[in-house]
């Protein structure tokens, strides 16, 4: 059973057991426009919830990505290095950014569910 949570900064995290897959929402991808570069974290590094973990650059500007949960990076989406536009094409599946080993599931309570997030973006 996979649960999906959202941040106010438009990241999503799909939680499966003790692991979380992280990406940005369709809304964020549309707002950013054409994505041309992604700087991903290194495997093995740990981040706290809310800390800047990656950078997504669109034609217009660079945007920080904040980690939805604390934990260690266990995998990154290497296909984004050569084809960052995958995020625009499919932000919720193929355009995932990294996988994290979640250290404290209690933190997920700070995040929004789909209904709350849709309200935030006015859908």
């Amino acid at each position: 059973m996979t649960d999906i949570y959202y941040t106010k900064d438009h990241e999503w995290i799909k939680v499966d057991g003790g692991e979380g897959l992280v990406g940005i929402t369709s809304y964020a991808s549309e707002q950013l426009g054409d994505i041309v570069f992604v700087e991903l974290p290194q495997k093995g590094i740990s981040f706290d919830q809310g800390k800047d973990v990656a950078v997504i650059e669109s034609v217009k500007a660079a945007s920080e990505i904040y980690s939805p949960a604390s934990g260690e990076i266990i995998e990154t989406n290497s296909s984004l290095e050569e084809n960052p536009e995958i995020i625009n094409d499919d932000p919720l599946v193929a355009g995932w950014l990294y996988k994290i080993k979640i250290i404290n599931k209690e933190e997920l309570k700070n995040l929004m569910n789909e209904e709350e997030y849709n309200k935030l973006i006015g859908v």
Partner: protein
């Protein structure tokens, strides 16, 4: 804070504001006006369409200024580093307003019209007020300075611009690059100038505000023509190595440093009889202290405005003034200034988020200009 600012600063709408909204434009405040950053296709698609076909940009925020009075050209030559003896009637020239220190107040297009008592200027939106003050301070009061805000301005840019415009306004074939003419269109007059700021062939067209929507819609009936926003305009001009005021040029930079010496009349440099003339003459004899150059950072990370530039010995040698991603080349490109003594270096280092990215120094433009050349 931002809400407070929005209440206090009035942002103007161009005559195409409602149309931009209908066309799903993402509108942002720019130079005091709401303008489209992009439409539904997005910046890269709009950029590529301009390079391969033709795009319409709403540039009505720019200031169109008509100055008239007897001997207006002589009076303007005392201000600007140009010679009307070398500009035929109907020709357009790129130039800059300079202060006494030879630094750039604004860059602009000046038209020599068919009327010897009138010149026509197109200036940057954010500099309009500053330019008018500069003109009032330095022009005799007998000259009439008329801000033509009754006119909108659209830019039609790209290799298919001429064929698209000919369908609407026959009688402009073979119009030379950097020339302009008033043309009758239906029951009104438009000013067509063959120029632009994308590196492509194209036209800037001044149209009475009440007709600009119908004119734009008529152009768009041609499937070669699409709308494009400020985002594409910025990436196009960056690829073409063209300076953007407030970024690559400003009150601290001279045209010599910015690589714009070509736009200054040679004889006027030696006579130095224009505002800033002595400073420019002095700078030309000793050489500028810094130079605008192009940089190609290795990898895919764009090095944007404000990125610091270092030499191999980790000395700070300059700063990026415009940088982004080139849709045409599919790589990041940057322009910036480095110390003149270092322009022959092969490689510099750009500090992007703490990482020193090696970058090759290249001559501008990044993408060759594709301006119209008349074949006789």
């Amino acid at each position: 804070m931002s809400e407070l600012l929005n209440e206090n600063i009035h942002i103007e709408k161009t005559s195409l504001f409602d149309f931009h909204n209908q066309m799903n434009a993402k509108l942002v405040p720019f130079g005091g006006y709401y303008l489209p950053i992009n439409y539904t296709p997005g910046i890269i698609a709009e950029h590529n369409h301009t390079r391969s076909s033709a795009s319409i940009f709403d540039v009505s925020h720019m200031g169109q200024i008509e100055i008239s009075g007897p001997f207006v050209m002589e009076a303007m030559e005392k201000i600007l580093p140009i010679s009307f003896s070398k500009i035929s009637p109907g020709k357009v020239k790129y130039t800059q307003f300079l202060n006494k220190e030879g630094k750039i107040i604004d860059d602009l297009m000046i038209h020599r019209t068919s009327n010897e008592n009138t010149v026509w200027l197109v200036v940057n939106a954010a500099c309009k007020e500053k330019d008018i003050n500069h003109l009032r301070e330095n022009l005799n009061k007998k000259f009439d300075i008329n801000i033509r805000d009754d006119l909108s301005l659209i830019a039609l840019q790209g290799p298919k611009s001429e064929s698209a415009l000919l369908k609407l306004a026959p009688g402009i074939p073979g119009m030379e690059f950097m020339s302009s003419a008033w043309v009758n269109f239906q029951n009104y007059k438009i000013l067509i100038s063959r120029c632009g700021y994308t590196g492509e062939d194209g036209f800037e067209i001044s149209i009475p505000n009440k007709y600009v929507l119908s004119f734009t819609q008529k152009l768009l009936e041609n499937s070669d023509v699409k709308l494009a926003g400020l985002g594409a305009r910025d990436s196009l001009r960056l690829e073409a190595g063209l300076c953007l005021y407030g970024h690559d040029i400003n009150l601290k930079i001279s045209p010599i440093e910015a690589g714009l010496k070509w736009s200054i009349c040679k004889e006027r440099i030696s006579s130095a009889d224009f505002i800033g003339g002595n400073s420019i003459k002095h700078e030309c004899s000793k050489g500028p202290s810094k130079r605008l150059l192009g940089f190609l950072p290795k990898g895919r990370a764009p090095a944007r405005e404000g990125t610091l530039i270092y030499d191999a010995g980790e000395n700070l040698i300059g700063e990026v003034t415009s940088g982004g991603f080139s849709p045409t080349l599919s790589i990041p490109i940057s322009m910036g200034y480095i110390d003149s003594s270092l322009i022959d270096e092969k490689e510099v280092f750009l500090n992007v988020r703490g990482k020193k990215i090696p970058a090759e120094i290249v001559k501008l433009p990044f993408v060759p200009h594709n301006y119209f050349k008349k074949v006789n």
